[in-house]
């Protein structure tokens, strides 16, 4: 595909990337002293092949995930699948938390509501009990019926529980 774009009879084989820019990037390495024109040409062409490879694999990942837009996560997956590319490139990619993930992780399970009954609450049936056995029944009765107390309205219980006291005194 790429070779079809080249002018075989032209002055030089057409490159997609500007040579000057490739030279500058190569020169970032201080140890590099001189680069022959053939080496520069090969690095430019090789970079084109690498870019095509990366685009092709990223597109495949996007298609597998039913997406039309290639995003950062697709590039990451494509890099992981090719060992040589993975070796030098995976650490250079942005961390996964910044990537736009189409598949969101499942939310953590909802916490069960185990709120204990607040202090001072009494059973709803206390109102119907006799005054005398009420004292002895409170202690063993409260623990097993704690879950039931959570569902009952608390304020009416307190109001009703106070009314029997004056009757006992009189």
């Amino acid at each position: 595909m790429v070779m079809a774009d080249e002018e075989e009879n032209g002055v030089s084989i057409q490159l997609e990337f500007p040579k000057g820019r490739v030279k500058k990037i190569m020169a970032l390495d201080k140890d590099v002293k001189r680069v022959s024109s053939e080496a520069l040409f090969l690095v430019s062409r090789s970079t084109e092949l690498f870019l095509q490879f990366l685009a092709e694999k990223s597109a495949q990942v996007a298609i597998e995930k039913k997406r039309k837009t290639v995003n950062l996560e697709h590039i990451r997956v494509a890099v992981k699948r090719h060992q040589p590319t993975r070796d030098f490139l995976l650490d250079e990619l942005p961390p996964p938390s910044q990537a736009a993930k189409p598949d969101k992780p499942t939310q953590p399970a909802g916490r069960p509501k185990l709120d204990p009954a607040p202090r001072g609450t009494r059973c709803i049936d206390q109102f119907f009990r006799k005054p005398e056995p009420e004292n002895t029944a409170q202690a063993p009765g409260q623990p097993p019926e704690n879950p039931a107390q959570a569902q009952s309205p608390e304020n009416p219980d307190q109001d009703q529980a106070q009314s029997p006291v004056p009757v006992d005194e009189s």
């Binding site: 490739v22 020169a27 080496a39 685009a55 290639v70 950062l72 697709h74 070796d87």
Partner: protein, 174 residues
């Protein structure tokens, strides 16, 4: 790095996207963060190959990184699938280099003040340079599983039979 603009550390985004569009499906889109990341990946690849090629160049006590150093680096780093198509490109490139001096003048003026001067030291290669055995020139189609077949087969069938990697190594000095 002093004096190096951040813009110069990456390939131009327009070139990158143009090449990607040729590979991607017609309806595909590229997110902005993906474009930037691809730009960085490409620069990282160039630095990676360059460092490895330069390491071999220095180990052999040469000062100029050559095409063979680049091919060797790609083999060593696992990009051997690129070696065969690049050998074809190199062969064609060397043929065009043999054209009249106007072509050389045009290519020389492209970067007159750059630090790298490819042809200023034509005699820097050791005398036995051309006798090095380069395994990467061996044709191995089974190792190009991921590379598109139409790229290597379109219009280049005649090269394979007559390709001689050492025929054009010796170049005329300017």
């Amino acid at each position: 790095m002093a004096g190096v603009r951040e813009q110069d550390q990456y390939m131009p985004i327009a070139n990158v996207i143009r090449i990607m569009r040729r590979i991607l499906p017609a309806h595909a889109k590229i997110s902005d963060d993906a474009k930037e990341t691809i730009q960085e990946c490409v620069s990282e690849y160039i630095s990676f190959i360059t460092a490895e090629a330069n390491e071999r160049c220095q180990r052999e006590q040469r000062k100029t990184v050559t095409a063979e150093d680049v091919l060797w680096a790609m083999e060593k780093l696992g990009f051997d699938n690129y070696a065969h198509p690049l050998s074809l490109y190199l062969h064609r490139y060397r043929k065009t280099e043999g054209e009249p001096a106007s072509a050389r003048r045009a290519s020389a003026s492209a970067s007159p003040s750059m630090q790298m001067h490819p042809r200023t030291h034509p005699h820097s290669h050791p005398p036995n340079y051309s006798h090095h055995g380069f395994g990467m020139f061996d044709f191995d189609p089974s190792s190009q599983g991921f590379y598109r077949d139409d790229a290597s087969s379109s219009g280049s069938g005649g090269f394979v039979a007559s390709f001689d990697p050492y025929a054009n190594i010796k170049r005329d000095p300017l």
